[in-house]
């Protein structure tokens, strides 16, 4: 167990590699109750949401969710999040645990400055526990427990219903692993019972409880950014390669800067790196090309699926070239690697 944003979190249950491979082959269950939840409601909720997020929530329907970013006026990222659209008057923001406080402050600041006092912003972090059931067997595991066919919940859609007959839950077809799966929001007092129901139903399918360690290796194989690594107050979505979650067809905070970057380019580019020589790239290691430092690793690990060291990192735009050889400075040694497109897994 490790402390994380005020929570005691399991890094691993039986081992990062085993948990990781279980998610790829069958399924794993993560307790991600630390995630923050903020509800935005009221007649003009839609307008405030649209102003806050880079993506366009009007492009989806009620019962759908969407990945987006919250930016400052500078274009820097306050947090990345999933927006759940119950209807045009009610939205749920699911944000990173470590950012929940500052996201709430930012939302209230925008609310005040843009005159949205009639919209309700409520911190509901204490009202939800979250379990993430991830992996190809997730559907089969959930089928006997849910009051609807899990296969009928489309990608990035959610169902509000019952688990095990009487546990109220929001079940979305989402996740942070790149595998098929579901994220399940429920009242904290029901979390333990739901955990037990799911692990019991999953035992025949090879379900493994999975911790933060596997969550990180899984997201890295998919090239998903993690706040504090590939995202931050001084990093814009354009630099982090998240252009497709930014919609210039609507207005939002930070748009001016992002639009300029879209036109003129950014000062750095996020790339994927795969080791050629043995070694595990880690955050902070330098990336060299042609004898010069061109960037730094932001996240790195050993990929349990691919059996090779993988990393993401920012490099100068001129250096970013798919297939180009680079070297990673691993404890004073220059280990050969190549730049590659993301994701690493499932291409």
């Amino acid at each position: 167990m490790v402390p994380f944003a005020g929570w005691e979190m399991p890094v691993q249950y039986t081992g990062v590699k085993e948990e990781h491979l279980a998610v790829r082959a069958s399924c794993g269950l993560f307790d991600v109750s630390h995630m923050g939840e903020i509800e935005v409601s009221g007649d003009r909720a839609i307008d405030l949401v649209q102003l806050l997020i880079t993506n366009d929530i009007e492009r989806v329907s009620d019962g759908q969710c969407q990945y987006a970013l919250l930016c400052r006026d500078s274009g820097g990222v306050v947090d990345d999040l999933i927006v759940y659209r119950f209807n045009m008057d009610r939205f749920l923001f699911v944000v990173n645990a470590s950012n929940a406080g500052k996201v709430l402050d930012w939302m209230r600041e925008v609310q005040a400055r843009e005159d949205f006092s009639d919209v309700d912003i409520e911190d509901q972090g204490g009202q939800y526990a979250q379990l993430a059931l991830q992996g190809p067997a997730s559907r089969e595991v959930l089928r006997p427990l849910l009051d609807a066919d899990p296969a009928g919940i489309g990608h990035f859609r959610f169902h509000i219903g019952l688990i095990g007959g009487d546990i109220e839950a929001i079940v979305s077809r989402t996740g942070y692993t790149g595998a098929d799966g579901f994220e399940i929001y429920l009242a904290p007092q029901d979390a333990e019972a739901a955990w037990k129901l799911i692990t019991d139903a999953g035992s025949a399918h090879g379900l493994r409880p999975a911790g933060l360690g596997a969550r990180d290796t899984l997201r890295l194989e998919m090239g998903y950014p993690l706040y504090g690594h590939e995202l931050g107050e001084d990093i814009t979505p354009m630099e982090a390669g998240l252009r497709k979650y930014v919609r210039f067809t609507k207005d939002f905070i930070g748009r001016e800067v992002l639009e300029r970057q879209a036109r003129e380019g950014c000062g750095r580019t996020l790339v994927g790196i795969r080791m050629i020589e043995p070694g595990v790239p880690r955050q902070g290691y330098e990336i060299h090309a042609g004898g010069e430092k061109v960037g730094e690793v932001t996240s790195g690990t050993f990929s349990p699926s691919l059996n090779v060291g993988i990393a993401m990192g920012f490099v100068t735009p001129g250096a970013a070239k798919n297939g180009a050889e680079v070297s990673i400075a691993i404890r004073g040694r220059a280990a050969r690697a190549e730049m590659t497109t993301l994701p690493f897994y499932g291409k």
């Binding site: 590699k17 290796t217 043995p278 349990p304 404890r331």
Partner: protein, 128 residues
Amino acid sequence: MEFPKDLKYTKEHEWVKVEGKIATIGITDYAQDSLGDVVYVELPQEGGSVTKHEPFGVVESVKAVSDLYSPVSGSVAEVNDAIIDSPEAINEDPYGDAWMVKVEISSQSELDDLLTADEYQKFIEEEK
């Protein structure tokens, strides 16, 4: 967790087996368990020298990277190349197949402050 009685131990979680002038060195069951899945090992060259309390190699798991500290000074007589290709052996058999190096000891007196199995076990219980 196992701590064979015929081995000596260090506070950096290495074990040493002394046979005459040769010390065989590896990491303990506790060390491999704390590290988790080991995916990479760096060891010195045969014929090179190692110094007591100084790093002689690196062991890296999915989660973390950790230096290996030599329990004795001397010259490297043999390196277990097999674990470079199969680092998972360190998790599976830390006292057997996954020995790391054999060192020809330069000073027998350096062995004096190594811990016995009981002392080491007590040390890690206090460290927890």
